[in-house]
Symmetry: C2
Subunit: 235 residues, 2 copies
Amino acid sequence: MADQLTLGLLGGTGPQGRGLALRFALAGHQVLLGSRSEERARSVVAELFERDLPVKGVANPQAAAEAEVVLLTFPFEAQRAVLPGLAEAIGDKVVVDVVNPLGWDELGAVMLDVPEGSAAEQAQVLLPRARVTAAFHHAPPRLLADPDREVDTDVLVVGDDPVARAVVIGLADVIPGCRGIDAGPLRLARYLEGLTAVVVSVNRRYKIHAGVRITRLSEERRLRLAPPAAGEEGS
Amino acid sequence: MADQLTLGLLGGTGPQGRGLALRFALAGHQVLLGSRSEERARSVVAELFERDLPVKGVANPQAAAEAEVVLLTFPFEAQRAVLPGLAEAIGDKVVVDVVNPLGWDELGAVMLDVPEGSAAEQAQVLLPRARVTAAFHHAPPRLLADPDREVDTDVLVVGDDPVARAVVIGLADVIPGCRGIDAGPLRLARYLEGLTAVVVSVNRRYKIHAGVRITRLSEERRLRLAPPAAGEEGS
């Protein structure tokens, strides 16, 4: 999983996208930071990233077309508008939906009603050929953005294609303090997205930037029972 | 929170109820292990608990009537049938819904469709005067049952009454390896219940009994920002 990949972050100019872009670039991946406006993407990259980091600001369609792995880091509202026009360019690539479909009211955060069950399942409907996964919901943007701090969270990865899950677990593993964990089928994405509302609530109460850890999972066991990466599929 | 409480575990003869009963009794609480059948409750207690532990097998109505705090540890299917007949006895007591409304199919565990949003919100509808909370969803029964092992999980507590949340956080804190965490309003129970499907999926893949930890929450901060216990309410 140490291979260098070209990663396209669609809607990557928000806090989650910028933070992930930084961490992936620091780990040596090529990052295409996409936005609806190429100008906006370029100015965010020029402003926030050191010149020698492999991050390039591009329009979303270019990020979708040139990336090997596509991450969806736009707000939930944008997903249904943006994805249909990119389905052709994305094709059967591995897609990581990072979107948390959250709303806010006087009680705090709550998950929005998504007819497909979750943002990730909606993405799968809009990108029928793609190998959609969901992950990185609970990686705090504030910590991702600060390379001097450990992110200190497990990254629960769901998806129906085991090779795609293995790719995303590999992406999580390059971020210091993160561990990618295989959490099973894509339909469980709704609970990962909903858990973000709980994490937000805990953060507000205790004034922290919490992550989530799975206990009793040793590193030896995690690596031994990881899903098979491409080329190790056996059959 | 070190006060001794009388705890009634309704449907407490299953794995989760027995495990919690053991841990609470070891911590010095009085436990009424309830079952639909008093005979069944008595025989489970006689068989599984040391004679000197403060655990007594009773019928559910007696547990509901005599307890200071009521825990719901029956299977989800039983909740709607059992609670209406106990609403009078439970009154405005603190209730802890431990129920995970899960179903199973070829893909693994999934949360059942609960019209009220979650098992805990259903319990609140059936017990309109009670101070309903939800907690202990992710405490592995196998570990609860073995007093020589640490349970190693945070206990995320939700509920709309802050004093009730404080009581339940206190109950979590007496179990070695557990920490009670204030996670906010009762409506977030649906995500805690759903998260159990993710934990079950992780357990199956890695062959572990996982718990869930919130990271970056120090003990000092957790205790300082806990919800006010009864008598500390200020006004």
